[in-house]
Amino acid sequence: MSNQNGRFGIHGGQYIPEALMNAVIELEEAYNKYKNDPEFNRELQELLNEYAGRPSRLYYAEKMTKDLGGAKIYLKREDLNHTGSHKINNVLGQALLAKKMGKTRLIAETGAGQHGVATATAAALMNMECVVFMGEEDTIRQALNVYRMRLLGATVVPVKSGTATLKDAVSEAMREWTSRIDDTHYCLGSVMGPHPFPTIVRDFQAVISKEIKEQILDKEGRLPDAVIACVGGGSNSIGTFYNFIEDKGVRLIGCEAAGHGIDTFETAATINTGKLGIFHGMKSYFCQDEYGQIAPVYSISAGLDYPGVGPEHAYLHDIGRAEYVPVTDEEAVCAFEYLSRTEGIIPAIESAHAVAHAMKIAPTMSPDQIIVITISGRGDKDCAAIARYRGEDLHE
């Protein structure tokens, strides 16, 4: 879907310091060499199946379906993957690629900590050094994941600059990569940043929609009417959308974190409130002020607390192929509690944004229609924060 310069319509590109240009060119060449290499794909497939536990289940949420009284609801269970989220799909691909490129060290940014944990896991498995940059604010919100990363042998660097959240972690990882390129691969966690990252990460996450398609055809003999996923940078959502883009009958719905609401400044809903800009290596939509200063965004979910969105999403929005809807903290927390009680599945607070929107539209649809919600991660990491949101004095 992207052209040679990594453009998705007008979005994408490579807006990075000259010092990194040869690194991204080298990465693109390596990716082009290995992406169709049978041996590379065999190794990756084995890791995904035997180590990460793929394919992930497509589960018919019967109680939820009956309770909401509309469309039939399936859950794509990325939360059941090893390390507890979809992040492992991309990380195993990139770590294997980095290894083939002769790199011995992985660096990564992380918001909620899911991508950091996945990267630390892959580094442990593949004998690589690992350094994870995490906003100091997030190291407090997600203390358990910080411990996990350290347990796995990674170094976690708390980032104090800016708003001390995900965007600052990305900036710091980019700065680190600029200073040490030879032995280091920047294992970017979302479909963002400079080309070729949005394409590489999308390709490694596209396994989600590839499996959904096979599984739903097997179970229902037809394609779903809508697929729904949460969007921060947009990796689990692009993975959920990708193999349905050509199937015009399938609605693609991305759920953005509205925080306290898109009519407030405390929001992270980029497509709903942002404007076109250039940041973190790409042209896309960003939350920013009138002078282009990047806005300090807010969401209860550390993983969606990012002021930009991947360039392919910006393009899918421009051409009207995908819809991007805002979901507030309160709606997401209600969905978090609802799915826990109704199906016995505790979703990540990120994924709960997608569940919340499905709860709104399912009752308006007919019982012969089908919705697939991607549960991008599990919610154990969020329990303490949600308890505090509900006024309980619970700390990890």
């Binding site: 000259e18 040869n22 404007k275």
Partner: protein
């Protein structure tokens, strides 16, 4: 356009970087005038950006102080208009792509021309993406200044051939900030540049001492110093200009 070329004409150029509005524009104005009085040949004016990904902690701090104090692109343009009443050395902006893009590239560059800005440096716009900005800069006779890094390798000649104003040679890998030692083989990089263009090249990143300034300007046409100057602003605030003047003199004397 010529003010930039002229500044390299007589001898080695000393280029001073100062973030606009740190801690306020009055101090920036005083610091620029002190630097010029003490021998600075060209001034790089930083327009603050919320997320300066090419900067080390010192200049990040300057950006934050300036933005917290309420600096905007329009205030910077007004400041330059005023500065130009008596400052004649070339002035170039150093900022990030989104600051220019969000203002409207055409409107931004046209205003640069009007207020007397001679060039623009955007560290997050490499050769591959310069078509977003360079043609507009040419239209208004504002130099779009290119950077060359220690990792540029076979890209050096390609970048140098299309360079305008001067070439900013990045001395070391990583972000801006002072370094005790610069290890890159800069002579080889400068040799390649000199083989394809007559445009002057100056070395920046990591330079803080008179010895480094002497060494770097001997290898090229000039030395660029940022973090070492900003440290005075960090330490002395509105009292910094006189220290900056003394510092610039010590650097310029060594070159």
């Amino acid at each position: 356009m010529n003010r930039i070329a002229d500044s390299f004409n007589n001898n080695k150029a000393f280029i001073a970087f100062i973030t606009c509005g740190d801690p306020d524009l009055e101090t920036t104005g005083a610091a620029v005038r002190e630097a010029v009085k003490n021998g600075a040949d060209l001034i790089e004016l930083g327009i603050p950006f919320s997320d300066p990904t090419a900067e080390g902690p010192v200049i990040q701090g300057a950006n934050l102080r300036a933005l917290t104090a309420g600096i905007t692109t329009d205030k910077v343009f007004d400041f330059v208009r005023d500065l130009r009443k008596d400052v004649t050395v070339p002035l170039v902006f150093m900022t990030y792509a989104n600051v220019v893009f969000s203002y409207g590239t055409e409107r931004f560059v046209k205003t640069c021309r009007e207020v007397g800005i001679d060039g623009i440096i955007l560290p997050d716009v490499p050769f591959e993406e310069k078509e977003d900005f360079a043609p507009t800069c040419r239209k208004y006779d504002v130099a779009f200044i290119s950077l060359i890094a220690p990792t540029s390798g076979e890209r050096i000649a390609m970048i140098a051939r299309e360079a305008e104003g001067f070439i900013y040679v990045v001395s070391s890998l990583g972000v801006t900030g002072t370094r005790s030692e610069i290890k890159t083989d800069l002579k080889s990089i400068v040799d390649v540049i000199r083989g394809v263009t007559d445009i002057p090249c100056a070395i920046g990143f990591g330079i803080s001492t008179p010895e480094q300034a002497a060494k770097m300007s001997a290898l090229s046409d000039g030395a660029i110093v940022g973090s070492a100057i900003i440290k005075y602003l960090e330490k002395y605030g509105t009292e910094a200009p006189k220290y900056i003047g003394e510092y610039v003199k010590s650097m310029k004397d060594a070159m």
